[in-house]
Symmetry: C2
Subunit: 280 residues, 2 copies
């Protein structure tokens, strides 16, 4: 069976002693570097591939310190603390620049994994009622970027603005920067923790929607909390996931946005938040 | 002038080469260790004290890997990447156990600092309209914990349940786990990045409120995004800050909750999210 483009993009070769080697290609290329979601997935993948791994991911924070370039990189993933049922990881991706020299840090991350057990469960963020994916027109790429070739994204509300007219959208806090998308990998691929982390980053910068203005912008830090276990993700198969994103506060070059993801049947899968640089 | 109890609690002595020494005392003691907010402030303080610091904090993620014990600790704070206007830090707190042996990691953190500049600004999370702090009865400690002696907390809604009757509160997603508090240090202390980070952690676990059930619970990872600069924080002086917290998804031993903080005059100061362990 051919390797899925997603798996190829985040593939790592163990180098022993907490080290992994990978290669950044063009398959998930964004404007000036790879899609942040594939970078987040790759950092998480290092932890999931580690022989000392305990449990499943609960929390992932990835910091985008610089632009990843096409070419080889190395990741160090170290279990800073292992308890009876939880484990805390520090992860760092380094790459040697085109001019050579010492490797430089491009991404940092922390990951919490845990052996989970059954407890009371609940949700205070209801899944929005939206039309099913079959009722929506087939997705076309919102922006002609390479990475979007590998996703089906069906906007329910909050697709990328068609008119970049700079008309500030302040029509109510619940709507001004709201997007709801049905999303999945293309070609289809069974959902797992890495692809879920990447899906949490599919939402384009809220400042585009809020201002109908294409200001230069890029994620600088993203946190994903996983609210489903591996078995639950397997149950999702390669079906669509519903994602909802909203902006929060915008100030002096940085704003933040949240995302929530549910299975088609309404199971909470992940919540996420990210802080994004914007130029003006 | 006497040193404020908050400054004493997060005080660090530079040890050269990215290292700092500190001491965990009882002044901000919680049930089985210090209040998470003082630990978060201490990790941030290491970065802010570092001679190589560039700019002001934008993002802080702290992972609570184990319980900090009374006694000395060391922090390493390393600038993993320094760009022209941003800097990415990796921070780790280690402590030697009561039985001696090698130091073990207790807290990990990543911090993004940046030189910010003026841009368009906005908010998609309106400050709730609430009665001013002077109209509320003087705060009494919600829970008889040492750290709450050092805060004034005036609940507007969502104070800690008085009846622990296990009556699950699912009366609407906006209300089930909502708290709004006026808060400030006690005694009064001018607001700064460290105290703001700590204030983002004042909200007790949402699972208490949601279930009116005191299940063992503790924060395992917290992220704070700063939306104000140092000058804006100085303008707040030691006035009350309004904080709002809500729970999100609860599943298999971990749930997450958000927090938003505004100055009394309505300026967005910080947004935060945390994932919390709960036992049953």
């Amino acid at each position: 069976m051919a390797v899925h483009v997603f798996d190829a993009a985040m593939a790592l070769q163990p180098q022993g002693a907490d080290r992994f080697a990978g290669h950044c290609g063009r398959s998930y290329w964004n404007a000036v570097g790879p899609f942040g979601g594939i970078s987040a997935a790759t950092m998480l993948n290092a932890v999931l591939q580690h022989p000392a791994l305990l449990g499943e991911p609960v929390s992932l924070t990835v910091n985008f310190a610089s632009g990843l370039a096409e070419g080889p990189f190395t990741i160090s993933a170290r279990a800073a603390r292992t308890n009876r049922s939880t484990q805390h990881w520090m992860v760092e991706l380094q790459q040697t620049g085109a001019q050579g020299g010492a490797p430089e840090t491009v991404l940092t991350a922390t990951v919490l994994t845990a052996v989970r057990r059954s407890t009371w469960s609940g949700s205070d963020v209801p899944m929005p009622e939206v039309p099913g994916p079959a009722t929506l027109p087939p997705g076309e790429r919102m922006i002609p970027l390479e990475w979007l070739r590998h996703y089906e994204v069906l906007p329910v509300v909050g697709g990328i603005p068609k008119d970049w007219d700079g008309a500030e959208n302040d029509g109510g806090p619940d709507q001004a920067s709201l997007s709801r998308f049905w999303m999945r990998d293309h070609p289809e691929r069974p959902l797992d923790f890495c692809s879920l982390a990447a899906l949490a980053d599919v939402f384009y910068p809220r400042v585009f929607l809020r201002r109908a203005f294409r200001v230069p912008a890029g994620t600088v830090s993203m946190t994903v909390y996983f609210h489903a276990g591996a078995a639950m993700l397997r149950d999702c198969g390669s079906d669509y996931v519903l994602g909802q994103a909203r902006g929060q506060f915008y100030h002096a070059g940085f704003f933040d946005q949240t995302a929530h993801l549910w299975s088609r049947s309404g199971v909470p899968l992940a919540s996420s938040t990210q802080v994004v640089y914007y130029k003006e």
